[in-house]
């Protein structure tokens, strides 16, 4: 059963990034799939938008407890994690996926592993 919710909104200070809200994904599994099923141009556009703001985003989010972020801040945090997810695509492979790599779907992140951090 899937529940359809409105896309999350970002903190007002970062409202300009709302165009990229589809990169706000809570799990590694979702972020990896997003990266691997996007066009390189989409990845680069998202990366460019985030990179000019990255230090400001980090400064801003550092003001909130990591394990209890309000919804808007959590949404922005998930975009920051997506920026990390696309880093190898942009900085190593220059394509969405690992070159000649093992199929990403077969290498499953265990999202229930108990020692994962809360976000």
């Amino acid at each position: 059963m899937s529940t359809h919710q409105n896309p999350p909104t970002l903190p007002p200070r970062f409202a300009a990034l709302q165009t990229y809200i589809h990169w706000s994904l809570a799990t590694e599994t979702e972020r990896t799939r997003m990266r691997n099923t996007s066009q390189m141009a989409e990845i680069v556009a998202f990366k460019d938008a985030m990179l000019v703001e990255v230090d400001a985003i980090v400064d801003y989010l550092n003001g909130f407890p990591l394990d209890a972020m309000p919804p808007q801040e959590a949404a922005l945090m998930h975009m920051l994690l997506s920026l990390a997810e696309v880093a190898p695509a942009v900085e190593a492979y220059r394509q969405p996926g690992v070159i000649d790599g093992y199929a990403f779907e077969r290498f499953k992140a265990d999202e229930t592993f108990v020692m994962r951090p809360p976000i």
Binding site: F64, L66, A87, D100, A109, D110
Partner: protein
């Protein structure tokens, strides 16, 4: 044209020889049956960390096809960790169906028999209808279980030939005291690879492949000699286990993980050097500085880490026999198991553990490091099934190993020694 190649690591271990190594053990079913009987059912196997089951009643279940067993690992009220077969004493149903959880007692879902956290049988519905049933005789079947440096190991042999300490210490006593307990943010991936477990492990116990398989990703994080080679700093082989020490490139973010916890000039240099080509990497390191809950100074590490004392030391690969790859860096570590499911199928459970980060910036840095590592694993995994298929064509009977592939040779040698040991009647 012929260059004289100086072989030096192998010279220390003449018993391993320098000749070609047969590939039959990677494809033979009878050989695998012997590995199962003589290795996987007889030796200590890593199954997890104590932090996974911090409270009384916390448990997880490990299905070990290589041992034809399913094992419950649980912390009891006294704080001890117990391991027992997931097999009910009544009519053999599995006691626990869940992969992990919390229990006060284990209740069999078939007829309701109850066992406590030590495996003792404590409750039998309609007990009076059984015949001379003494509950004391019918607890869950325990297996040996012990902890080394927070790693939980089990051994299916009820009377292990060696204690866990006797097994680990000849090779690893010098790294006891590594701050495993401060590196508690863990991630896990798993996959089933269609190849022999030794073939999978081998791809991780040499750095000869780094310039090729990892040429676009982390090759620049490894210290490179003048001729472009990436020789290890040193290698050590023991009766069972083996170790390899590798130097990194401190100017890269990935090759200088210590920068995030140590800060200072090294961190600034890594940030500056990455700023243009790898701006996300540089941003992640900037974001992570100062966020870790502990400081990790190289000089505080146990003396067995970076045993050559190299300035640019990056990590040591430790291979704990038979299938546990434990790679230790100054402030994070990787723990992979290459556990056979059958002769040609291997379950890889790959875990990476980082220091806990207090801030969003630190978490961003961890994600950067984790994703980079995961993609490197996708590179490593990419060769395995191709290699297995190629081995199975049977056209080649032997592989040729160079000096820096010593650990591959040692791995094959140790397995073969045990598989072919005369059975003591």
């Amino acid at each position: 044209m012929n260059k004289v190649i100086k072989l030096h690591l192998h010279d220390r271990y003449p018993e391993l020889g320098k000749g070609p190594v047969p590939v039959e053990p990677y494809i033979s079913a009878p050989y695998f049956d012997k590995e199962q009987a003589k290795i996987f059912k007889k030796t200590w196997l890593h199954v997890g960390r104590v932090e996974e089951i911090p409270k009384a009643g916390d448990y997880f279940v490990k299905d070990l096809e290589a041992c034809e067993a399913s094992i419950i690992v649980v912390r009891d009220k006294a704080g001890c960790i117990n391991a027992m077969h997931n097999v009910c004493s009544h009519r053999m149903n599995q006691i626990v169906y869940e992969k992990r959880g919390q229990a006060r007692k284990f209740f069999c879902k078939f007829h309701g028999w109850a066992y406590d956290l030590e495996g003792k049988l404590t409750g039998v519905p309609e007990e009076e209808s059984f015949f001379d049933l003494d509950k004391c005789d019918h607890g869950l079947t325990r297996v040996a279980c012990d902890v080394w440096q927070g790693f939980i190991f089990i051994n299916l042999d009820p009377n292990p030939a060696l204690s866990l300490a006797e097994f680990m210490q000849p090779m690893f006593r010098d790294i006891e005291g590594y701050p495993f307990d401060k590196i508690t943010t863990g991630f896990q991936w798993s996959t089933v690879v269609n190849c022999n477990w030794k073939l999978a492990l081998d791809a991780f116990q040499e750095a000869y492949h780094v310039a090729y398989v990892h040429g676009r990703s982390i090759a620049d994080a490894i210290d490179t000699a003048a001729d472009g080679a990436m020789p290890p700093l040193d290698a050590l082989c023991g009766e069972f286990h083996r170790r390899l020490s590798i130097a990194g490139n401190p100017k890269s973010v990935y090759g200088n993980p210590n920068a995030v916890t140590a800060g200072g000039a090294a961190a600034q240099q890594a940030i500056a050097d990455s700023a243009t080509a790898k701006p996300i990497a540089a941003a992640a390191l900037r974001a992570g500085l100062g966020s870790a809950t502990h400081q990790f100074r190289k000089e505080d590490l146990p003396k067995g880490m970076n045993w050559t004392g190299h300035d640019n030391w990056l990590f040591d690969i430790n291979v704990v026999f038979p299938d546990f790859y434990l790679s230790l860096r100054p402030n994070y570590f990787q723990a992979y198991n290459f556990r056979p499911l059958s002769q040609g199928k291997t379950l890889l459970e790959a875990r990476v553990y980082y220091p806990e980060m207090k801030t969003a910036g630190g978490r961003f840095y961890l994600e950067y490091m984790k994703v980079a590592l995961r993609d490197v694993l996708l590179e490593d995994l990419s060769t395995l099934e191709r290699t297995q298929s190629a081995v199975q064509t049977g056209v080649k009977k032997e592989m040729l190993l160079q000096d820096f592939e010593l650990l591959v040779r040692h791995g094959a040698h140790v397995v073969d020694r045990i598989v072919n040991e005369e059975t003591k009647a």
